[in-house]
Subunit: 264 residues, 2 copies
């Protein structure tokens, strides 16, 4: 798809360094859009951006920003895109911390909240104002099945992902009849570098890896459905799993299933 | 139920002035617990607290605090309960603002976020540390069906309610085998003073009022199931409605239903 023609010259991906964010950047480059990559590892982003430039002839900017510092991060990001013809944004970045809620200190919870909720809110709002004013642009925000089920021992992460999901769904409806396409994509297990560090050991982890999607598979579905659906669950197996839990189990059963997963 | 015997001397309700918060205070008083009422209207809280004192012989404290100012509010609240034998907390407070996401200014969104997410996180964490250390206490946090469906034209509110729901569910599982009982209760339309100001006019609003619960009905179910269930949807009709949407409709259909509700 000619994304540049449809949405604008530049797209920004928050959490672009690797995994799903990197796969989204590749989609933008394939679609002819220049890319603003935001993450913490500047050199790694630059390496990958140079590859996109060589392969697809697109321009790029790299913004080193720590989304757990919303004031500073937003200043840098908004300054870097000031005056550009922005046409796409995607919030992929997230941060989590395992442990019982009250055993993790508040500063750590707030650091996660800054990434998963506060920076998300500010950045989504900033680009939506621009896109709505031009009646042109697209957003794909990334949630997680932990935002649907709840996530014991990782509860604040699941809560943040629920926030992203429900805000994005609402905005997707609000913009449905406009030139701005908004989509929430909810991921199950995805073979990203971060996820692969966190899989539980043993059979539970092995079973999960077998049915996991790759970042490219997620990106294919996300961009294919952009403008057609508001809220999608990535992959057929995840869709079927969520539907089964919603249709055939109580809330308590779904939470308990998720809790038992990390209790092992 | 003798709540004092089971959970401790004092309970705190955030958003205690009227509606569901007031009904929860009454439950605490009936169960023999002293009450810390937190809200913005000090005189009104004091009037109601005096009634509970007269009727049930319990002690009370009233804390005037604005939960949209988390630093100041938490200082006041934690100081007021310092040294008390706390055994219950409930977060009922919430704030919303109608409008398309990008048409509401960021300061207003962040004010809502402060009430619905940041003060909630800090206060829940504060009392959970205390309850977990004593292995004794109870929490009932209040969510909304907008947190399950998403809430177009009121999107950030629904997102905050999803955050409360998913964090509370996770903590409920983590504490399931302990002396601390944690519950999330998700409300449909409830006949509170705030809700009654916001009902849409005409047949849609009338239909909603007919099936709404009273705050006392919500409180009865919330306290009856405390310690037995982790996540409940208040009322049989709301339970059936949520189950029907989850089992028989897509995410997009659920969002569209909610969106059409406020579009009229």
């Amino acid at each position: 798809m000619d994304l540049k023609e449809k949405y604008g010259e530049w797209g920004i991906v928050l959490g672009a360094t690797e995994g799903v964010g990197e796969a989204f950047c590749k989609k933008l480059a394939e679609g002819g859009m220049n890319i603003v990559m935001v993450g913490r590892r500047e050199e790694l982003m630059r390496e990958k951006a140079e590859k996109f430039k060589a392969e697809y002839g697109v321009d790029y900017k790299v913004v080193r920003a720590d989304l757990s510092q919303p004031d500073d991060a937003c200043d840098k990001i908004f300054a870097a895109t000031e005056g550009l013809d922005m046409g796409f944004m995607s919030y992929v970045a997230c941060l989590h911390h395992f442990g019982r809620f009250q055993d993790v200190d508040l500063a750590t919870h707030e650091q996660c909240l800054n990434v998963n909720v506060i920076s998300f809110l500010r950045i989504f709002h900033h680009y939506m104002k621009d896109f709505a004013a031009k009646d042109r642009g697209a957003v794909i925000n990334v949630s997680s099945m932990t935002g649907i089920s709840g996530s014991p021992f990782n509860g604040e992460y699941g809560a943040g992902k629920a926030y992203i999901l429900k805000l994005t769904e609402a905005v997707a409806y609000e913009t449905k009849k406009t030139g701005v396409d908004v989509e929430a994509i909810t991921l199950g297990t995805t073979l990203t570098p971060t996820a692969m560090k966190n899989f539980p050991k043993g059979p539970a982890g092995d079973a999960v890896v077998k049915i996991a999607l790759t970042p490219d598979q997620v990106a294919d579905e996300a961009f294919e459905k952009l403008g057609h659906e508001m809220s999608i669950i990535a992959g057929e197996r995840n869709k079927a799993s969520v539907h089964d839990w919603k249709a055939n189990h109580t809330e308590d059963e779904y939470i308990s299933y998720m809790g038992a997963f990390y209790e092992n």
